[in-house]
């Protein structure tokens, strides 16, 4: 911790393995990345923009639309985030070994 790396990209120790992701995963998978972005953003905006659903009609059953929308929105968000998570896995560069070691021992941090 004596000399912090002012420029992390320069002067790497030769023993270091190369950086884990040499190319930018977003640039490598533009469609997947965009899909993730849209899903997450839509999940936020569709409840943030209140005028979309601040109305009484159409009633769904006995529920005014405002209340029905908020109820239905939650499972929808859960689904959107789950899909986003699955898509994010595809962004990872081909590394077939990673799936098998999910429960391996956890190193307790840097020190």
């Amino acid at each position: 911790m004596t000399e912090p790396p002012a420029n992390p990209s320069a002067a790497r120790d030769p023993l270091d393995p190369p950086p884990a992701r040499p190319e930018n995963p977003i640039a490598a998978h533009p469609v997947t990345s965009a899909a993730i972005g849209v899903l997450v953003l839509a999940a936020i905006l569709c409840t943030l923009i209140v005028p979309i659903y601040a109305r009484e009609t159409p009633k769904v059953g006995d529920f005014p639309f405002f209340y029905f929308y908020l109820l239905i929105y939650m499972p929808a968000t859960a689904l959107a985030l789950w899909i986003a998570m699955l898509l994010q896995r595809r962004l990872k560069p081909r590394n077939p070994a990673e799936t098998g070691t999910a429960d391996g021992p956890v190193p307790g941090g840097a020190r």
Binding site: M1, P4, D16, R21, I44, A54, E56, L70, T77, E98
Partner: protein
């Protein structure tokens, strides 16, 4: 104690004793070699998987505030109370964006608190202190709010309610709190993690039963919504305005829509800045557990929406509405409703669920505040060479102090609108947004500019909240304010001010070439997942090798 229902009382006491025993036994759960490490006491060994993580985070995020204050607000003001539903939906996509990065960097550097990260990122002890101070300050009213929730239940149970002496009246609260304080001291984060299973089971059972059963007693949903709509539109004789809004109104009609959205957005952003939610997230064992839980936790929001609807049920039930009015405390709406609708034994289960639902987050909050004190105040400024063992000791004691501080907060401060207390904490905690969340992506901001922005936001937010008055209270009436003709959540305005100051001063300080401080983090560490690949080791070597 004359009007205490024996069945309700017995069930609550029995469940409380079970929970206390589990709290103590939890110290042996998932036992580690050295339990006196702060990551063991304060983060449960950082080893919780998706399943336990879901219960822990659910128990952490959805507090007694959820069960008492949200329906109370719905009961009093209508649709605006549903901002809490919108907010707990929005919080997960927002956290999905930045929380995995915070998890990774904290795991690589063994950061225990968010202030640890801020200190390391900006090389600034001052910023670390500022964020730790903000965290502790915001957690105090939040813990107090949990106590207010317990108080509401105890009042309806009739426990010592007819005594006017504060100390006699609050004795059960003191007892509950001392027990909580001791098992948190002993077991650390393992205690709330274990108890959250019971809490969530009780809550799920009672809410699902209530949401299907109560409407059958009240003439169906159409009657409940009808009664609520009529009540909200009625003119309040005291204020000469409608009681509330059944659907958030557009700008032309008083603009509750903007208030609704800014409250929801501000609270959603604030939620995962709170140290206790970060504590819960950092206690999980991998990056994917965090992401998976962001997708799974909205299940709790369904529950919250049902609970918010209890507010309307309380309006539709004439007896409940009359009793709440007589007591003059809207927070009693849900306890009274449950008491009237259910047989004693089920009321006991529901009340126990709410009380335990307050204890879980209160424990996690106290732990989070204690960790902040230990890591970012005690160790940083008083004893830099503190051993891990001493750190844990200090944290244990600090958790006790924090709890009793919150108890004082709850007993002495007025709690007509508990929700506003928490919202004031939300205003404060939002002020660390820039240093924490932007800090996860960029080092562009200058540390001193962030400090100035933080101070501006804190001062503005506190003064603005203090100055809000209503017909019934002279200060602290609400955490919304009118800015440029819109009713806006104060935390939101304060954050915007904070951002403006930080950006402008960063430009100035950079031009003046003031020292930027050292950054101990490396870019690839923000996406590291040490459980999957040993990224941590090369990072450490890279720093030390010079």
């Amino acid at each position: 104690m004359s009007n205490v229902n024996a069945v309700v009382f017995t069930i609550v006491v029995v469940l409380f004793v079970i929970v206390a025993l589990i709290g103590f036994a939890a110290s042996r759960w998932r036992k580690a070699d050295d339990m006196m490490l702060l990551s063991e006491w304060g983060l449960g060994g950082r080893g919780f998987g998706t399943f336990i993580g879901w219960f822990l985070l659910g128990g952490d995020l959805y507090t007694a505030y959820t069960f008492i204050a949200v329906p109370a607000l719905v009961f009093a003001s209508g649709a605006i109370g549903f901002y809490a539903v919108s907010y707990t939906i929005m919080v997960f996509p927002i956290a999905f964006i930045f929380l995995p990065r915070l998890w990774s960097i904290s795991r690589v550097h063994n950061y225990i608190t968010p202030a640890d990260f801020i200190r390391g990122r900006y090389g600034s002890r001052g910023l670390g202190l500022a964020s730790a101070f903000t965290g502790i300050l915001s957690l105090m009213p939040y813990i107090a709010l949990q106590l207010v929730g317990i108080q509401a239940v105890l009042t309806v149970m009739g426990v010592a309610a007819n005594s006017t002496n504060t100390y006699v009246k609050d004795t059960p609260l003191f007892v509950a709190f001392v027990v909580l304080a001791i098992y948190t001291y002993v077991s650390g984060l393992r205690a709330p993690a274990a108890i959250s299973f019971i809490k969530d089971t009780l809550i799920y059972v009672f809410v699902l039963v209530a949401v299907f059963y109560i409407p059958t007693r009240l003439g169906g949903w159409s009657h409940i919504f009808g009664a609520a709509q009529t009540h909200m539109a009625a003119i309040n004789p005291a204020t000469k305005k409608p009681n509330g809004a059944f659907i958030p109104t557009p700008h032309a009609l008083g603009s509750t829509q903007f208030d609704f959205a800014s409250l929801a957005f501000g609270s959603a952003v604030a939620l995962f800045l709170y140290p206790h939610t970060i504590t819960g997230a950092l206690a999980t064992k991998s990056r994917n557990v965090v992401k998976r839980n962001m997708a799974l936790l909205p299940a709790y929001s369904v529950l919250l929406a049902c609970i918010a609807l209890f507010g309307y049920m309380a309006i539709a039930d004439k007896t409940t509405a009359a009793e709440v009015k007589k007591a003059g405390n809207t927070q009693l709406a849900v306890p009274y409703l449950l008491q009237h609708m259910f047989p004693s034994w089920f009321t006991g289960i529901a009340f126990a669920g709410i009380i335990i639902g307050a204890l879980v987050p209160a424990a996690i909050m106290a732990i989070a505040a204690a960790n902040l004190f230990t890591r970012n105040i005690f160790k940083e400024f008083f004893k830099p060479d503190a051993s891990p063992r001493l750190e844990t000791r200090v944290s244990q004691w600090a958790s006790l102090v924090v709890k009793f501080g919150a108890l004082a907060f709850a007993v002495w401060l007025p709690h007509t609108f508990a929700i506003n207390l928490q919202l004031l904490g939300g205003v404060w905690i939002l002020q660390i947004f820039l240093m924490l969340v932007f800090g996860l992506y960029t080092r562009w901001f200058h540390r001193w500019a962030l400090m100035a922005g933080w101070a501006t936001g804190m001062i503005y937010g506190t003064i603005a909240a203090y100055n809000v008055h209503s017909d019934t209270s002279s200060h602290w009436a609400s955490s919304s304010d009118i800015v440029f003709g819109h009713t806006v959540y104060i935390g939101f305005t304060a954050l915007i001010l904070n951002i403006v100051v930080s950006v402008v001063l960063t430009l100035v300080f950079k031009a003046a070439r003031l020292p930027a401080g050292t950054d101990e983090t490396l870019p690839h560490q923000y996406t590291a997942d040490p459980a999957e690949a040993p990224v941590a080791a090369p990072a450490g070597v890279g720093v030390v090798s010079d």
